[in-house]
């Protein structure tokens, strides 16, 4: 499904060059639930941004669904993000002036669904994450855990093939974090989508099937968990 070869990412600020990824080779199979771990600055988020097409690598190749991503046009990348991928950000990243259901509806309308169909699907998706009663709440009227569940709902409403989660529990208390991870785990079991999650917590990484550890821009360990 996702094949990464010799991936390098270097940032330049003036004359200063920062090599963040230094030759990553990684294969993620269809339906795999994978955790990427590592210390701060190890390159976890940078790797996720490259795979999720939010950024472009300095060199190397990423192949998703047999498509070499460097050959995609900007519009193709946007389309792929819209239809094939789902995103859960660390800080929920909800649009403040949209209600929970509207936040979820937006990508569905962009995909061409009617407003009514998008609404129904969004309510269904919010129900799946236990927020049926709060569909009309604005993000400011929801707790952090609830906002992250809206974010999950938005990411999965269109049934993406790949789900990216960038430290989805970083801003949550233990109880809310567990709720979100249970949710991701359950969704993975039910839908079988490929899920790539960044986390700092060993405890949370155990929800996945495989842990890839990064250190100074390279993969230092690739461990498959026995379930």
């Amino acid at each position: 499904m996702i094949n990464i070869q010799q991936l390098y990412k270097t940032y330049r600020t003036g004359n200063i060059e920062t090599k963040v990824l230094r030759g990553i080779d990684l294969h993620i199979a269809d339906g795999e639930f994978i955790a990427i771990m590592g210390r701060s600055g190890a390159g976890k988020s940078t790797l996720l941004y490259q795979i999720s097409l939010l950024d472009e690598p300095t060199s190397g190749t990423i192949t998703i669904d047999n498509k070499e991503t460097s050959t995609l046009s900007n519009q193709d990348r946007i389309d792929m993000r819209l239809t094939t991928m789902g995103y859960i950000f660390q800080d929920y990243a909800l649009i403040p002036e949209l209600t929970a259901v509207e936040n979820v509806m937006l990508p569905l309308i962009m995909q061409g669904q009617t407003k009514q169909a998008a609404y129904e699907k969004s309510v269904e998706s919010l129900s799946e994450v236990g927020l049926k009663d709060k569909v009309d709440n604005l993000p400011s009227q929801l707790s952090g855990g609830e906002q992250q569940r809206v974010s999950v709902s938005r990411a999965i409403a269109h049934h993406p093939k790949i789900l990216f989660a960038d430290e989805p529990t970083a801003n949550l208390d233990a109880e809310s974090a567990k709720t979100v991870l249970d949710l991701l785990s359950q969704l993975h079991k039910e839908r079988g989508q490929t899920t790539v999650m960044i986390t700092h917590e060993e405890e949370y990484a155990k929800y996945t099937e495989r842990i890839v550890r990064l250190s100074e821009g390279i993969i230092s360990e690739d461990e498959r968990l026995k379930k």
Partner: protein, 417 residues
């Protein structure tokens, strides 16, 4: 099927407008309203200032159509026949046939002075009018500021224009000779041709039309005798038309009826306008346009700044929207819709204010300029053109900054880099 970009753009715009700070929205709309008024009202008043002067000349002097003597002739030949023709037109509501003659008026001549004193004398135009017809045509009676109006049987009684009297003139000029210490009931000595008479001031008229304010009006009956005009040939005929009648049509009709250039000149009130008035109208329109253009630039900069700041503070969310697959075009469209909304509401309220409040107000209470009663001229086509112009400029001013922000790198926007 409406494209997704448009639907998402509208979806976002509507919610951003609905849930944005109402004071910010109100402020932007106020800027739009003021800009629109600046566009329409300023040039409208500048043009209205001249239009007021033109209107006054039309109302109090020329009427809608005026027939005058050709330059080379002293009077309108065959005036009775011309008057008969004028009367035959159903569009004619009333008319005033006037005899005019140049002459002098002298005041305070009874007070003994030194031999070297220059007599207090003004050159002016005398008009012999039928008081009733003149009033019906030019509402001269309402221009009386002192005394009474003349009657057709009055003898040696006149109505004098205010600009011939020192007390009504705000300035002193060697070129603008006036009569001093002349009050109602005082006698002045007039000389028309070889005839000299002593007449009593019965009334004083004051308008903002020099032709009225520098004239002395006699009842027609006496005036004809005074100037020895026994053939009933008059010098000018001011014609007032019924409401809705077109002066151009009537002018054409009069000419077609035989009132040709050989013995009379037929003009609409517009033809009879002095050229300087027409030039000033164009000049003021130009000035109004220049000032309005500056207003338009200020408005577009205001909208640009507002949308730019809005988009900049929302840059992270714009990045997220792009990140989850919302196209940049849809986000830009949302800002275009918002700008369009501001412009439509601003222009709409502006149009309502112009036609619902300002035009009726200035018609009822014209601005008292020294030479005209200024009104607000706001032709519907020009007002609509201003509204459309404001909408286009605002939409562009909203689109450009949103595009600048939307084009930034998605990840940089999300991470606030």
């Amino acid at each position: 099927m409406i494209p997704s970009n448009l639907r998402v753009g509208f979806f976002l715009a509507l919610r951003q407008l609905k849930r944005s700070n109402p004071w910010t929205t109100l402020l932007i709309i106020c800027v739009m309203i003021l800009t629109f008024l600046n566009l329409v009202v300023l040039s409208g008043i500048l043009v209205g200032l001249i239009e007021g002067a033109v209107g006054a000349v039309r109302e109090h002097y020329t009427g809608d159509v005026i027939i005058t003597a050709p330059r080379e002739k002293g009077f309108i030949e065959n005036s009775p026949r011309v008057i008969q023709t004028v009367q035959s037109f159903p569009e004619v509501a009333s008319f005033s046939a006037r005899y005019t003659e140049m002459g002098t008026a002298e005041a305070n001549y009874q007070t003994p002075g030194r031999d070297t004193d220059i007599p207090e004398r003004v050159s002016t135009t005398f008009a012999g009018i039928d008081p009733a017809s003149e009033d019906a045509t030019t509402n001269i009676r309402e221009l009386l500021v002192e005394g009474e109006y003349i009657d057709e049987n009055d003898f040696d009684q006149v109505v004098i224009g205010a600009l011939l009297l020192r007390k009504y003139l705000d300035f002193e000029s060697e070129l603008f000779v006036t009569l001093e210490n002349v009050e109602i009931g005082d006698k002045i000595r007039v000389q028309i041709g070889e005839t000299t008479r002593e007449v009593t001031i019965k009334g004083i008229v004051k308008s903002k039309v020099d032709e009225i304010d520098r004239r002395i009006f006699f009842p027609q009956k006496q005036f004809r005798t005074l100037i020895g005009r026994n053939d009933f040939n008059v010098d000018e005929i001011a014609i007032k038309l019924v409401a809705g009648a077109d002066p151009i049509v009537v002018k054409g009709g009069l000419i077609a009826s035989g009132i040709t250039a050989d013995f009379a000149k037929v003009q609409t009130f517009e033809d009879a306008q002095p050229k300087f008035l027409q030039d000033m109208k164009q000049t003021f329109r130009l000035l109004g346009n220049i000032v309005s253009s500056l207003g338009l630039v200020v408005a577009s900069i205001t909208v640009f700044i507002v949308i730019f700041i809005n988009a900049l503070t929302r840059r992270k969310f714009i990045g997220i929207l792009k990140g989850i697959g919302i196209s940049g075009t849809a986000i830009e469209i949302s800002y275009v819709f918002q700008s369009f909304f501001y412009a439509i509401i601003g222009s709409g309220v502006g149009v309502a204010l112009v036609y619902g409040v300002l035009v009726p107000y200035f018609n009822a209470y014209p601005i008292n300029f020294p030479f005209s009663d200024g009104i607000l001229v706001a032709p519907i086509m020009e007002v609509m053109a201003s509204a459309i112009l404001l909408i286009i400029i605002t939409v562009i001013a909203g689109y450009v900054p949103s595009r600048m922000i939307v084009r930034k790198n998605t990840l940089d926007s999300i991470l606030g880099r």
